[in-house]
């Protein structure tokens, strides 16, 4: 009986395993290197857990801002209000120097830095839902008080009908610090990418 059962057991052929694993890990390394040299654009969408984004300078073309009520997935405690008021900040094309993003995934604190060595981080269709913003901002050709559903600066991103919104042709933010709940970017190039565990952005 015992020998019969053993004969049913599958087994792993370890040479076959290494034959597929090693090339895959080589491709992993290649992807990381290509991304760090900003030859490869990656895509981001994070939400649910708050995280911090800092950047020395953000220069953007096409800026929109309006308020959103976000229903957080995590805060479903009884008696706890489940809604957070956030501002949605959308930028059509953004270049960021000294970008730092720290996020906690499953108890593991992770810090990503990029754009420290001359070449800025490049992002398209960047949307950040933040509840706290700090920095010095300069806008050109700004409109304040426009209906959020008539925004045009970032194609495809519009707010609810009737809501208070502003948009600008360009934006420059120095010493940006955002406490955000969701970020999405169509594409991200991350030159000089560093992935590190532990530690938060300054």
């Amino acid at each position: 009986m015992a020998s019969h059962r053993r004969s049913e057991r599958g087994h792993t052929r370890w040479r076959r395993f290494t034959a597929i694993l090693l090339p895959s890990l080589a491709i992993v390394a290649l992807l990381v290197v290509l991304t760090a040299q900003s030859l490869l654009a990656v895509s981001f969408s994070i939400s649910g857990t708050p995280f911090v984004v800092t950047a020395k300078v953000l220069k953007g073309r096409g800026f929109e801002q309006f308020g959103v009520l976000d229903r957080s997935v995590l805060k479903v405690l009884p008696g706890h209000t489940n809604q957070i008021i956030l501002t949605a900040n959308a930028i059509r094309v953004a270049n960021l120097t000294n970008l730092c993003q720290s996020v906690t995934v499953g108890g593991l604190s992770l810090r990503i830095t990029a754009g420290d060595a001359g070449t800025p981080v490049h992002a398209t269709n960047l949307v950040v839902d933040a509840d706290r913003l700090a920095g010095n901002a300069r806008f050109t050709h700004i409109t304040i008080g426009q209906d959020a559903s008539t925004l045009t600066e970032v194609p495809g991103v519009r707010g609810p009908v009737g809501d208070f919104a502003q948009q600008a042709a360009t934006v420059t933010i120095r010493h940006l610090r955002q406490h955000a709940y969701a970020t999405t970017a169509g594409t991200f190039t991350l030159p000089d990418l560093h992935l590190g565990f532990g530690g938060a952005c300054k």
Binding site: I20, L31, S45, I46, F66, G145
Partner: protein, 403 residues
């Protein structure tokens, strides 16, 4: 005391025996379960499937962007969800359809690698490595011995050409009907997925993809679910200024019968927000100020008469703009302002300031007669506003953007 130990020992051993019998009974019941679990586990690439499943789950957990937003970002955002979802599916299929493991394991490795680009750097590297590891393990797994064992007869025979192989070879017959009915259908590669396919009754991925695709095709224009128009109408009827001020003075509803004749100014090209809002400043230096007249400003809930001012620049101290976060919500968004320079045009339902202890208020019903070109207003308060300018400087403090 001295005569008792024997009896106590007997009693204790009796208890032990009873406990032993109980344990044996539990074991007798559990043993077949454990045996069949082991048989199930050993007859398929269990660990490979588990790691692939975990990898997909980690990537999915790392991105929980609101779905409407994903839909707006388009195919890139969609891929961010699709890749880990198919990865999870591959893990499950490695368990429940191990006959096709070569295809699923290679697909898992490829999807895990793709997730670096599409999905938060492959769930911040963790999910990607789990997927690659699991895919490799599953690829290397095979049943011991050449003779098919009892369990293999339950799962599809391993000699059957895999879906992936048939795709490569071009064996369309085995691709369309690769296995006996009743077993799980193999996964089509993602590039074969089209909206037409989503109408099928296939359980699992298809309804999810159908939902995503359906939302993508008739994607709504607004970023958030539509707001009730009635609410904005109500807000518009409440209308009115923000902040302190004599309540009897004005309101858009009264403005239809404006008494004081004021020049008619041109309204802005786009429609203004339907919510209340206001600009306040401890002091504001207005340069090159002129009053252009009353304009009928278009909003969602109809036109609202507003005063139109134009000026070269406004330098503010303690200046901020407040507006409700969304239509009908009480919390406010605040933005602090430093300077507004170049071709400044301000539409507002009300403008008030303090002068020698008195509050002076202008409304479309009581428009200003003459204004100084350059003036510093203290405690400037405006009603609902629409403002454009060439440049604007604002400094956000660490204070919350939303109150």
């Amino acid at each position: 005391m001295t005569t008792d130990p024997g009896a106590r020992d007997r009693q204790a051993s009796g208890q032990r025996a009873a406990g032993h019998d109980e344990a044996e009974a539990i074991w007798g019941r559990l043993a077949p379960v454990i045996r069949s679990w082991r048989r199930w586990r050993h007859s398929r690439p269990f660990w490979g499937g588990l790691f692939v499943l975990l990898g997909g789950a980690v990537i999915l957990l790392s991105e929980r962007a609101p779905l409407p937003l994903i839909v707006h970002i388009g195919i890139q955002g969609l891929a961010g969800y699709l890749v880990p979802t198919v990865l999870v599916l591959c893990g499950l299929l490695l368990w429940f359809n191990p006959g096709q493991r070569v295809f699923y394991s290679l697909l898992s490795v490829l999807l895990a690698l793709t997730s670096w680009i599409t999905s938060n750097l492959g769930g911040f590297l963790v999910g990607m490595l789990l997927g690659v590891l699991g895919g490799s393990l599953a690829f290397a797994w095979q049943p011991r011995g050449d003779t098919p064992s009892r369990d293999v007869t339950q799962s599809p025979p391993t000699t059957q050409p895999s879906a992936g192989l048939s795709l490569i070879i071009g064996d369309t017959q085995s691709e369309t009907d690769p296995e006996p009915p009743g077993t799980t259908r193999p996964l089509h590669p993602p590039d074969q997925r089209d909206p037409g396919e989503t109408g099928s009754d296939q359980a699992g991925p298809a309804p999810f993809a159908a939902r995503l695709l359906a939302r993508r095709h008739n994607a709504p224009l607004s970023y958030r679910p539509a707001v009730f128009p009635a609410l904005s109408v109500a807000i518009a009827m409440l209308g009115g200024p923000l902040g302190p001020g004599p309540p009897q003075q004005q309101g858009p509803s009264q403005a239809a019968g404006a008494r004081a004749p004021a020049p008619v100014a041109r309204p802005p090209a786009v429609s203004a927000a339907g919510t209340r809002s206001g600009l306040t400043a401890a002091s504001a230096l207005l340069t090159g100020l002129s009053f252009d007249g009353v304009a009928a400003v278009r909003t969602r809930a109809g036109t609202v008469p507003m005063l139109k001012f134009s000026m070269h620049e406004i330098i503010l101290s303690g200046g901020e703009i407040r507006a409700p976060a969304t239509v009908g919500s009480s919390p406010f968004i605040r933005e602090s302002l430093a300077s507004i320079v170049g071709h400044v045009i301000l539409y507002t339902t009300r403008l008030s300031y303090e002068s020698r202890g008195r509050t002076i208020t202008f409304t479309p019903r009581r428009p200003p007669a003459a204004l100084p070109r350059n003036v510093t207003y203290t405690n400037l308060i405006t009603g609902r506003l629409y403002l454009t300018s060439d440049t604007l400087q604002s400094s956000w403090s660490e204070a919350p953007a939303a109150l």
